[in-house]
Symmetry: C2
């Protein structure tokens, strides 16, 4: 670890720490017997999120709150699998306060009010394909992912399980409570966090902009404008209905969505890739709908601007500085910096 | 959060990041079918630890590796429940590189090779008693714990469950692998981490000193010198046998153990307190055994040096700067700084 980051100037951190936000309390009726403890009369705190934050010296006004995707934690935004700086430290260097979230029922926010079973389900090869490193066991020729075995090992060890059922409404409740604490801030979402991200912006006017990296589910549309679901080799992608008034709350903030490379143009049997063909298509309809309602959304398919080889993990790919530069330009264009 | 730490000078961080260390890989036999994925031919990476590290500018030679206790994560060492800086940032300010660990099957290292069920077991009142905040619902008169309800809420939300069975051998294997990466370093352990901490020092000569905060279990003795188990109102505390050669590996490094306040002197029916009476007694026998074999161990029961009111969480109590000063003096006395 001693060789990482040394080429950079030191970080000057004004303040850092962590906090639990949101959540609920379960209470078992009765009177607690201190010297014969049972569930009776005891409480349980759960369904909160956990956030670690760092505020650099002379920081910009708007913090960035980063929310991970499925099977991941705040780890997604830290050191890259090949040991370079991730978006946490890159955006600290660019002057933004950064909040890294473990969503409710994940990572350090593991206390769930609903029980679940955690099993060692072998998904490594599915992840390799679905996160577009390549088609197992082969990497895509242009993939922006280091080929050293230890890099793949680190990538696969960033996976961590749900400790309770995924609940986008609950996650966005806790996220909205976090934005109450941060004040006006920018939201970065990755993959499965796309959906909870939109819901957070509906629930909190402190969300001043959204940068969504490869949103994979939770595409919400007005009830009366729901597009057809989209079948793919990885299953059918269903849009989700919300009241028009909620949808229109997303039209007041700048939103940008990024997708990487190696998406098929036509339907294909290649499950890992076809999964993303429909997500990109649905995201295009979503951006159209936001803008039709007077919003300010854009979608950048990176190969269209000649940025090639990106996996599902844009923030930790070999060219993540180039991706960060794209994001910085967006934040600057929208006066969010 | 904006009011925390502002009274301090900024931190200058040379390098920060995170890494997964140790662990194993499960493999399901067969050939993976990319377009009809099942368990067949897939692998699962689990049982690694997760560590977040920060290296301050002009740092001291020996990093500090901090390992949390039961139901906790690295969160234990971060911001205190009442919002002050914890040992992570306090010891960074004192010039030590700091590594915060989520042990295998906990927090961000949630992938377990053994399945488990996670349930919302209500333990808040038991924790209040057992972590010696007081006797629920009353705080001890002298307790070094802020009485604001939101402080207790933060404290209880630092709890996060096991995502697999606790395994001291597996945890210490991963910890020894971490010390291989850090090089010579100091180990801080809390509560249940006491046992895995001793085992880590047996497995890695890079452990140059141990500061154990309220070790609660895993007291290891030479097979031929096993003391009697010690009954208490919270159950019987059993010492654990290891080969003499392993035990003697602990006699080459300085070790200090700290315990806080509100321990009963005589056996009592008060379960939360009596639990610690026997742990303190067993720790005294353990220190005697280490020193009898030529080691350098000491036990500090804080009330004996007139430091009063400490809970089980010495590192985040209201007087945690005073506790940190005690630790700094030990590290200085033992040339570990």
């Amino acid at each position: 670890m001693a060789d990482q980051g040394r080429k950079f100037a030191p970080l000057t951190i004004e303040e850092q720490g962590s906090v639990a936000v949101g959540g609920t309390v379960l209470t078992t009726p009765g009177t607690y017997d201190n010297n014969n403890p049972t569930a009776v009369g005891q409480t349980f705190h759960g369904d909160h999120l956990y956030a670690f934050y760092q505020i650099p010296q002379d920081s910009k006004a708007l913090p960035i709150v980063m929310l991970h995707g499925a099977y991941q934690s705040a780890r997604s935004w830290e050191t890259t699998p090949d040991g370079r700086e991730g978006f946490q430290t890159i955006f600290l260097r660019r002057g933004y306060p950064v909040y890294l979230v473990d969503q409710p029922r994940r990572g350090r926010a593991g206390n769930s009010t609903v029980a679940t079973t955690v099993e060692p389900t072998p998904f490594d090869q599915l992840f390799f394909d679905q996160f577009r490193l390549g088609k197992w066991p082969d990497y895509f020729d242009n993939v922006q992912f280091d080929r050293k075995p230890e890099t793949l090992d680190q990538f696969l060890r960033s996976v961590t399980p749900n400790t309770g059922p995924f609940d986008a409404g609950m996650i966005s409740d806790a996220m909205a409570a976090l934005f109450d604490k941060t004040g006006p801030a920018i939201l970065f979402s990755h993959s499965q966090a796309g959906g909870p991200g939109w819901l957070t912006a509906i629930k909190s006017t402190n969300v001043k902009g959204i940068v969504a990296f490869e949103p994979g589910s939770g595409f919400i549309f007005p009830e009366s404008e729901l597009p057809e679901e989209m079948p793919s080799a990885a299953g059918s992608l269903k849009p989700e209905a919300v009241p028009l008034a909620d949808f229109e709350r997303l039209t007041g903030i700048p939103i940008i969505i990024y997708y990487g490379d190696n998406f098929p143009v036509e339907p294909t049997k290649e499950r890992g890739q076809d999964n993303w063909r429909v997500r990109l298509a649905m995201a295009r309809l979503w951006v159209e709908a936001i803008n039709k309602h007077g919003g300010d959304a854009q979608l950048v398919h990176l190969p269209d601007i000649d940025i090639r080889g990106n996996t599902h993990f844009l923030m930790s790919d070999l060219n993540n500085i180039e991706i960060a530069d794209q994001v910085s330009k967006f934040l600057s264009d929208k006066k969010l910096d």
